[in-house]
């Protein structure tokens, strides 16, 4: 650790905080300023002016937008997420009941997908051009270029409908034993893993191949090192930064994929909560969920950046 690295890291963190602030402005503007008068919409065209004024005052719309934004942001920072407009429950309670489920899903997916993706990515980089590499690459292109719900649908068709191994829908509410938990998790985790592994594998493969084409690897093989030793001892340590970067970036993709997967499997997570909020136009709920997702996304993207900086030896020994 030296000053240059600390300075770079500090810069990245400040950038992340600034973009989070900008994101909060965008979210607030789209959900509660740009669509127009929410009170008018709720009461319809032929509402009396008195009723409109009363509702506006009740919804807090008589305050100018910048003040409302500051108030909203202050609430979020303090952990007060407002009240859901459909259920009249505090949003923080709703979120707290769902967030652990989503985090568990993400953790289990990460646990399975990272080792598989790394193994596949490194193997196909080592045997570049072989049948293994070709099949793995074609498969990952196919998975990445079809919608997530197709992957999930096919998984249900194969494992639940044809083979009867697993239940088609997942309910995390009636879990009593470990076996039931595994069964409930299997389909959503499998579908998410397919997509994430495909993404991560491609990036890992590219990172390792990038190293293998460097001149020092030619030198190593001229010295007579075995291919295994060349990759594991010489190329991999140099590819750790790009690979960590790839892992963080692929995991940030989880945040988008989980929206579809939670809906298709009826999984009681926070993404499902948000989709329901959007279809009922429950703005406080949507705003809070959107901010939670954006924070998660920015954390992962910044983490990817930080890994890249820390792993760069040119910065470490300056």
């Amino acid at each position: 650790m030296n000053v240059a690295i600390l300075k770079l890291l500090g810069q990245r963190l400040c950038m992340a905080l600034l973009s989070l602030l900008a994101v909060s402005v965008v979210v607030f503007a789209i959900t509660s300023v740009l669509p127009g008068d929410a009170a008018q919409e709720q009461l319809g065209q032929d509402a009396t002016p008195e009723a409109l004024t009363a509702l506006r005052a009740q919804m807090g719309l008589d305050i100018p937008a910048p003040t409302r934004y500051m108030h909203w942001l202050g609430g979020i920072v303090r952990g007060d997420l407002g009240t859901s407009s459909t259920t009249q429950m505090p949003v923080s309670e709703l979120v707290a009941s769902r967030l652990p489920n989503s985090l568990l899903l993400a953790a289990v997916t990460t646990l399975f997908s990272v080792p598989i993706a790394l193994a596949f990515g490194i193997a196909s980089a080592m045997w570049k051009g072989s049948w293994f590499d070709r099949i793995a690459s074609a498969g990952s292109v196919a998975v990445v270029s079809v919608p997530e719900f197709l992957v999930a649908t096919l998984a249900v068709l194969i494992f639940a409908v044809k083979l009867h191994w697993l239940p088609a829908l997942s309910y995390a509410t009636d879990i009593e034993s470990l076996g039931q938990m595994l069964k409930a998790f299997a389909m959503p985790v499998f579908s998410l893993c397919c997509v994430i592994v495909a993404l991560m594998m491609r990036m890992t493969r590219a990172a390792v191949i990038d190293q293998l084409e460097a001149p020092y690897i030619e030198m190593v093989s001229l010295k007579g090192a075995s291919p295994m030793r060349t990759v594991l001892v010489h190329a991999l340590p140099n590819a750790v930064g790009p690979i960590a970067n790839a892992i963080a970036l692929s995991l940030s993709y989880l945040l988008g994929g989980v929206i579809i997967i939670e809906t298709i499997f009826n999984y009681p997570g926070i993404a499902k909560l948000m989709v329901d909020g959007v279809s009922q136009r429950d703005m406080p709920l949507v705003q809070s969920c959107a901010m939670i997702f954006c924070v998660g996304y920015l954390v992962l993207v910044t983490l990817a950046d930080v890994c890249g900086i820390l792993a760069n030896p040119r910065l470490r020994h300056r």
Binding site: A22, T31, S145, I264, V286, F293
Partner: protein
């Protein structure tokens, strides 16, 4: 300073125009040779893509309307001679539904792609041609959109403005402008630093001229390949939104909504849910195949690296 250096592409272009005027047969051979450059997988992709474009343009007018079945309504009917892809959850013919859906999936995504790429390219040209201050303001503000996950942004937009076709086009193009901008900008900046652009500026040409005549022709090719990729992203995003019930609203239906409507038949593995899902996959994979096999692409990439 010689003037002909600023138009390096003029001669070959003029030559090809000449031959096309004089000899139709040679145009055909040139076209066939260009087509041959695609290779087998590229040609298959091109065929599938052309099929779906034709379906989107003429499909609904060419099919005879037997959408509502005559007497014996069969829900989730099997594939038969009368119903090529079976029937849906209301007993409507699935083949007609899929062909009708093509105009939404392909059409909406195509318009949104053109908007996103066009706007992104224009902004990038403007940023590259007009100096550091405008460049960094534009780049920073577009970066803000990138730091919201694309599906999340779409959900927020739908929550705020509801969902109509115009809204979907606007949402998809806003989400993918920054990507197009970033790619176009990185190329435009490089070209902006080349000598012939400096020469044009010294000649006294304005920013608009430099953008349009000096930079644009040189980044048009790669931007077209990028357009294809962006089309795939937008198709996937819109299909995902429709699948959540937040995209194209009933009674109109794109392929994503068709999967959603008929998801109940998943347990019986009916064609009603598999056909539209495979239609999306065939479209996106076809576009990918075409882009990967564009004639001269391999040569270009080697040239870049």
């Amino acid at each position: 300073m010689k003037t002909n250096t600023s138009h390096p592409t003029l001669t070959p272009a003029a030559a090809s125009v000449d031959t096309s005027n004089t000899n139709n047969a040679s145009v055909l051979t040139t076209f066939l040779r260009w087509l041959g450059g695609f290779g087998w997988s590229g040609l298959i992709g091109l065929a599938i893509l052309l099929f779906w474009i034709a379906a989107a343009l003429f499909g609904s007018s060419m099919l005879t309307r037997t959408l509502v079945p005559d007497s014996n309504v069969q829900i989730f009917g099997a594939i038969s001679h009368a119903h090529w892809l079976g029937t849906d959850y209301l007993g409507r013919d699935m083949f007609i539904r899929v062909i009708d859906g093509a105009s939404y999936t392909v059409g909406v995504a195509f318009v949104a792609t053109l908007l996103a790429s066009g706007l992104g390219t224009m902004l990038a040209l403007f940023a590259a041609a007009s100096g550091r201050w405008i460049d960094s303001v534009l780049s920073r503000s577009l970066d803000t959109i990138t730091s919201i996950p694309s599906k999340m942004f779409a959900l927020i937009m739908v929550a705020g403005f509801g969902s109509s076709v115009t809204m979907l086009i606007a949402t998809a193009s806003i989400i993918y402008v920054p990507g197009a901008y970033r790619i176009a900008r990185s190329m435009a900046i490089n070209i902006n630093a080349l000598d012939y652009v400096t020469v044009a500026r010294l000649r006294g040409e304005g920013t608009l001229y430099v953008m349009r005549r000096e930079i644009l022709p040189n980044i048009a090719g790669p931007m077209l390949a990028d357009l294809g990729l962006r089309f795939v992203y937008i198709v996937l995003l819109l299909a995902g939104l429709s699948f959540l019930g937040l995209g194209v609203q009933p009674p109109a239906a794109d392929w994503g909504s068709l999967v959603r409507e008929n998801i109940g038949s998943l347990a019986s593995a009916s064609a009603a849910v598999i056909a539209p899902a495979l239609a999306i996959a065939s479209l996106t994979i076809a576009v990918n195949l075409v882009i990967d096999n564009l004639p001269g692409r391999a040569r270009r990439e080697r040239g870049v690296k």
